[in-house]
Amino acid sequence: MALTKEQIAQRIAKEVKDGYYVNLGIGIPTLVANFVREDIEVEFQSENGILGMGPFPYDGEEDPDLINAGKQTITALPGASFFDSALSFSMIRGQHVDLTILGAMEVAQNGDIANWKIPGKMVKGMGGAMDLVASAENIIVAMMHTNRAGESKLLKQCSLPLTGVNCVKKIVTNLAVLKIENNKFVLLERAPGVSVEEIMEATDGDLVVYGDIPEMQL
């Protein structure tokens, strides 16, 4: 069974380690916060200017001066801090953020990523994504394995305008966990009940399968 978006987030949450500063992109990545183990200390950074982001506020406690990068109302945890955009990107560009989790339209087997523009169709802008992928040492892409037309999003080469080059290290999709190594996708884990053959079929780029591939533990 392919994973739901919540389950993708749940699997990614296991990559979040004690003491990490984490930047979560919009969409599936935002859900990761819900699944992080409660016995570890993690701080979420939002590039619009908060470190120590907490859960959504209770109804009636929303503050227009307190939002995340997705423009959603949020709360600040005890020990949080607010700062300006330049200092926020000092954290990102200066590699002080330990883990970046973001969505993608396409990922190529050399680590290129595209997620900000479909020429002639959709141009929302890159927001902070280009800074994040150009700077982060540790990037996990959270996405569906195929697009709505059923086409693979794991490609030999990106067809859409790039967000960054040679930057993605790990990908968690509804079908699999993969890493990028030597210009190839390497299969690490299968979604429960999903076969290696199904994953190979859904992957357009070169896929390497070493031995038995375990099922994901959620």
């Binding site: 590039e47 200017g49 700077s135």
Partner: protein
């Protein structure tokens, strides 16, 4: 102290002309200079270039200027959530330059700081890097980016004093401190304006030297773009 107060938003916007370049603080609809935007609409200034992280929504923020077709060019990092914007952009009526958010912040800070250019890895190898000088540092490729130039900067703070000192609240801070002093004239609108000396000098986020004109905004809607709540258990 040097007094930076002006009577109202009209006086604050004296000297604004068609074709100028403006910088506007805010992220989404949070921390935007609502009163200055309303005045720009009222004045009907046209053909302007706006440097702002976002473009508002259809009926609020910079969306109000877009509706009146007052904007010639937008320089932003993210412009989703605005149908009229998309229409003008795709039809070619509106010129749009999209740049990485960190680069946008740094180009403002560079202008504020008299740093004419700097290097950043953001955007290398992408459309953003096309036509730009690139260079390797520490084994990694970087783009050279320039300080912005703008005629007017409009920033919004929570509290300010008559000397122009500013204090921001929460994530409404965002680009506002980086844009103060980055344009020829910086106009600050604040929710609360106090006499110089009432703010703790250790708490000032932006000293008055970066602000030319300050006034108390008449009203703030402070619209929330994505109201998101959790349910009480």
């Amino acid at each position: 102290m040097i007094n930076k107060t002006v009577t109202n938003v009209r006086e604050a916007c004296e000297g604004i002309k068609d074709g100028m370049t403006f910088m506007l603080g805010g992220f989404g609809l949070s921390g935007i200079p609502e009163n200055c935007i309303a005045e720009l609409v009222r004045r009907g200034v046209r053909g302007v270039t706006c440097i702002s992280n976002n473009a508002g929504v259809d009926d609020f923020g910079l969306g109000l200027l877009l509706q009146k077709k007052q904007i010639k060019k937008m320089i932003s990092s993210y412009v989703g959530e605005n149908a009229e914007f998309e229409r003008q952009m795709l039809s070619g009526e509106l010129e749009v330059e999209l740049i990485p958010q960190g680069t946008l912040a740094q180009r403002c800070q560079a202008a504020q700081s008299g740093i004419p250019a700097f290097f950043t890895p953001a955007g290398y190898g992408t459309e953003v890097g096309e036509g730009k000088e690139s260079r390797e540092f520490n084994g990694k490729m970087h783009l050279m980016e320039y300080a912005f130039k703008a005629d007017f900067g409009f920033v919004k703070a929570w509290k300010g004093d008559t000397a122009g000192n500013l204090i921001f609240k929460g994530t409404a801070r965002n680009f506002n401190p980086n844009m103060a002093g980055a344009a020829t004239i910086t106009v600050a609108e604040v929710e609360e304006l106090v006499p110089a000396g009432e703010l703790d000098p250790n708490h000032i986020h932006i000293p008055g030297i970066f602000v030319q004109r300050i006034f108390k905004g008449e009203r703030y809607e402070k619209r929330i773009e994505q109201r998101t709540v959790r349910t009480r258990k």
